[in-house]
Symmetry: C2
Amino acid sequence: MKIADRIEVAMTAAIQRGQGGVAPAKLAAALGYAVTPGGARIRPTILMSVAMACGDDRTMLTDAAAVALELMHCASLVHDDLPCFDDADLRRGKPAVHRAFSEPLAVLAGDSLIIMAFQVLTAAAADVPVRALGLIEILGERSGMPFGICAGQGWESETNIDLSAYHQAKTGALFIAATQMGAVAAGQDAEPWEELGARLGEAFQVADDLRDALCDEATLGKPAGQDDLHGRPNAVASFGVRGAVQRFDDILGGAISSIPACPGEAALAQMVRAYADKLVPAGARNRPTVAGE
Amino acid sequence: MKIADRIEVAMTAAIQRGQGGVAPAKLAAALGYAVTPGGARIRPTILMSVAMACGDDRTMLTDAAAVALELMHCASLVHDDLPCFDDADLRRGKPAVHRAFSEPLAVLAGDSLIIMAFQVLTAAAADVPVRALGLIEILGERSGMPFGICAGQGWESETNIDLSAYHQAKTGALFIAATQMGAVAAGQDAEPWEELGARLGEAFQVADDLRDALCDEATLGKPAGQDDLHGRPNAVASFGVRGAVQRFDDILGGAISSIPACPGEAALAQMVRAYADKLVPAGARNRPTVAGE
């Protein structure tokens, strides 16, 4: 089965388990709504690619790890879109959960998805309890306080922001979780895989800045030009479009050279290159030089 | 060490781990704020009492289980107090988290506490991975969808409420988690302990209704008379004060007779009786009969 299909099949099964039995219908519907359509599923794709590069000898555990990571990511989107944060109308081309359902249901859907992420991992733990616990540990560390995406979002309430800690937690954390959980699901150590995750996270951030500057709302599935609008620091403002593309390529090069020795090293490098081509819109690379860039 | 002291020492250590390192200061402070003062710590007290009745041969795991359960409970209080739910000003006699900090920080503090609950359990898993996974599984099941406290809160957004599923999920779930996690932390099966948890949850609900009707705001640490005010179904409205006290005693009797055979059975029964005396205010038992009751 292709990676994209493995992810969708496993996601659907997990959500159906969460909706099953005598459950409140609206919240059950909100869970499914919050995780579809899937978009690029970048984090679970990286996770599975790393697991496959490491042998992927426990496919059910790999599937569970990929789902757990994506559920946590979706939960963070649902909560980040709430009125008290971004107050977003749109997400992935349709109304955000709090608009489509209600604010209470968006809070509860996010909470349920966070919890479900851990449930999915215990359900796949049977013959590999130590690996499963390793996965739960990484997911917790990269999601919560003091280093995870909650911390990343929390920095936005501070007057004095530690920018390095902020970016590492806000964007980097779940990419590091992706590479490390992929390795651990396949029975390998987590530590050597941290750098690859961190660099992929940086590259994603630069690509996100490029897309925000260059794409329209229909392509993004959410409002464009938000970085400029809110005066947020971003790679395009700092380096211009061509500079940002160069920076993206440099980071990706570093990412590829950081891949630890493993059976599928070459294939993984190829995957990273394909990921790069997907992330940066063709228009950005071929764009004629603009004065001042 | 006394149970109450064990709980506070372990809670403090867990929160400090979550606050440590380079973390956003306000969110770090909100975590500590959200879990203190502790109130009765009823759920972790039940959990530890059951673990001790079962031998408590892994005290660190028991401590972690108690903390995990209380963190999940505190997270639910923080989110339930949000403006889109109860919009509560006060909790445990001081401003609710979203009033003392902000709404974004209350959302994030709740999220972080949920995640921390699972982190605490992995951190104590070292030599007992299967027990730890069992604890994570129970905590997830009784917190998320479709049967946990998220489901319970989710029922409040439905037009047609399944009252039995609602009460079981909203109040019962974490009491069942308490008895089952106590047993599993001490190496016993979870299943025989479900009934005790369910009955303690019912008793707690009746006691809560009695306190809401009979106590003042200073005693409760939150506004009194809310059930009558909002026309919520409650035991005092249904049975009167004396009827509700009688019902409370009946449920507790059932709880005691449901205690599975274990080394500390007698001591546990004694604990349940002490719990009962604490829950129902003396004034309620001794209250003169009022016409119409």
